[in-house]
Symmetry: C2
Amino acid sequence: MADQVRNEQERAVERAPDPQAGTGQAEGVPAVNRHEAVVRDMARRAREAQRRLELTTTEERNAALEAIARALEDSTGAILAANREDVAAAEAAGLPRPMIARLRLDEGKLAGVIKGVRAVAALPDPLATEPEGWVRPNGLRIERVRVPLGVIGIIYESRPGVTVDAAVLCLKAGNAVLLKGGKEAARSNAALGEAMSAGLSAAGLPHDLVGVLPPDREAAVALMNARGLVDVLIPRGGAGLIRATVEQSKVPVIETGTGVCHVYVHEAADLAMAREIVLNAKCSNPAVCNAAETLLVDRSVAARFLAEVGPALVEAGVRLRACPEALAHLQAAGVGAPAVEPATEADWEAEYLDLLLAVKVVGGLDEALAHIARYGTMHSEAIVTQDAAAAERFLRTVDAAAVYHNASTRFTDGGEFGFGAEIGISTQKLHARGPMGLAELTTHKYVVRGTGQVR
Amino acid sequence: MADQVRNEQERAVERAPDPQAGTGQAEGVPAVNRHEAVVRDMARRAREAQRRLELTTTEERNAALEAIARALEDSTGAILAANREDVAAAEAAGLPRPMIARLRLDEGKLAGVIKGVRAVAALPDPLATEPEGWVRPNGLRIERVRVPLGVIGIIYESRPGVTVDAAVLCLKAGNAVLLKGGKEAARSNAALGEAMSAGLSAAGLPHDLVGVLPPDREAAVALMNARGLVDVLIPRGGAGLIRATVEQSKVPVIETGTGVCHVYVHEAADLAMAREIVLNAKCSNPAVCNAAETLLVDRSVAARFLAEVGPALVEAGVRLRACPEALAHLQAAGVGAPAVEPATEADWEAEYLDLLLAVKVVGGLDEALAHIARYGTMHSEAIVTQDAAAAERFLRTVDAAAVYHNASTRFTDGGEFGFGAEIGISTQKLHARGPMGLAELTTHKYVVRGTGQVR
């Protein structure tokens, strides 16, 4: 999804919440957080509204999404005007150009966002699954039924499209949503939120189902403290934002996104296939989490493969950070500085999100597995080989959300997996792993019907 | 499960980890934690060992559990001797009697624990589920396969049986386990851990699959900080322990257990059935989390019902905390102080875990729902009524792990639900909700097989 894109600049500007801000001092006395009361009140109202939404039918929820789409269309002028103010302020503040590009909305982009709303309305209702049920020997009838998570908080950065994408996915699955976007997009997000609330009201639902929080760090901290009022937080953005949320939040978090993904070219690889996969995994969209960051090549094919893929990568604008052996092979193939430099330990750990690739020669499958176990982030890992046994061992052994044989890591995506939509890619193991679709925005409860049973 | 039992005394003695201990000072500089290095090293070795376990078959894992059962049998003398030392130390320290009772093992109790190991071996393998699979239009074959969570940390209190129960459930599902029990049970837990490790070695598996951590708070804090080394923490014990773990841990936590459960007697209830359910929900085991803590009664039947259930509860040793209306009805039925006292706000929030029951008269279903939404802990909630529409509205509206119609809340339990075993009862919404069986100790990964696909 588009918002997976981020880069160093954006991360530098939209700093993660300050660990000290408003959470407490050494003695555990909370510092003043000027948004605490506001955020808690919004969360309470969102929960009230969610109880109402939970009782709606699939049709009523889809009609509400259509009403939101229409309200966004009706508010196009106001939204674009607000966005122009955000962009002007960002330009005046000298923010980096790629960030301003992400911030900017125009008629075409907004139409795309609105089209996305209708696409979500058209998806199957994740709450409409047949409950699993069984009867106990004592006659108790137990059903496990799908229910919404409740109130979901989203903490994200400067892309206004996320405001709408995330909100409609939450609503479709019966949840209320509290949105804490970046400061730079404050006016755009307020206008988008207002339009969505107007759509909800037009559909006869409470406008509090969507809440746009104050755009600063204190609001994020208040959200992380709102245990019991907010059911789950989903941070979407750079590694710093995600780590800060995971470490500080008292509300359960679904971690998304950091990807130090590897492509491992095994000695029995089809090298032409490996070349295409490596180029695709690195270059097709280097700024996203499922892009490859490190290439591992078996020693026996390293000279031949690197002589082929090295110049092709450099041709595509990629700079390489190579281990001594790989460096020698690349230099022998005519790839020299500055396109290739010696790798340091930091390169094996780096999520470049850029046209940069670390390259390492390994002694075989075991060494590749050990390297991935040590440096991988449990996101997406690929092996290229014609040896079925090696492939199966790789697929079975590697501990990651998605493991690939003879395919690019770039496929780890809700759309590519056929889920129709995604709210992010989970790199944790609890609740959701890999691309999260609508089902992951729900939970279950047990409904037990008796005739007076006691224990 | 037995370890759900806990009381004020135990909680007072086994205090929750100190929020300041070893986690950091105002400037974020970590204080010295003398167990940090030990715990991290144990976690690394557990992970190595788990990679080995993950590749075993169902039969190999069951054989390992049988070997553990035999090793525990062979070590009975040593285990009971260690336990006698723990009990003697606890008695010398003047620990409360119920706590010493929970701490004490004897031949019969240990045989029960060993029987439990074999019962877990006999359960179906949660990893042996048929993977869900599909083929994408581009030919990619995607499978969602069940895999272990990895390394699981258990933080618990003074019951040595938990050491074995929790470990074998984790192992059965392919996980390594790090056990952080209470100080009082240190010698017992060390002996049990040694026997389990010996069993694993006898079965040809790494003994590091089970690690018994140092029995103090610093080890718990080190475990909570071991993000990336430990995949999930499951705290089992009192509310203080659970809250501290949830709020401090950087490792994802599955929250278990706090239960402020309500029985709501609707105006259309079969009052004889309601009486049995209330007595059962309160009295059959008041110290567990699925016991009722508050009785809500509809105004139109309150006088009649309380005149019947009030004396029966008092007869069973229950003390009542009543709202003014309920108080008047109870007094009219001859139930007076000290058996009944006026309720305060604190009573609606209390998880008594004792022969105490809060009683409130409500104006109908809406008021009952509002009370439960405000004071419930999303554990187990029951309505007693012959009115099907009222029952369905209650079941649909109440946000809890288990909702009951005409049955006791006491059924929220892995065994009663038919899961064969349980590691706890989750009151959170992510990953697991309600009784957690073996399936909840696993996660999934996506295995993608291609023929050179790029995006």
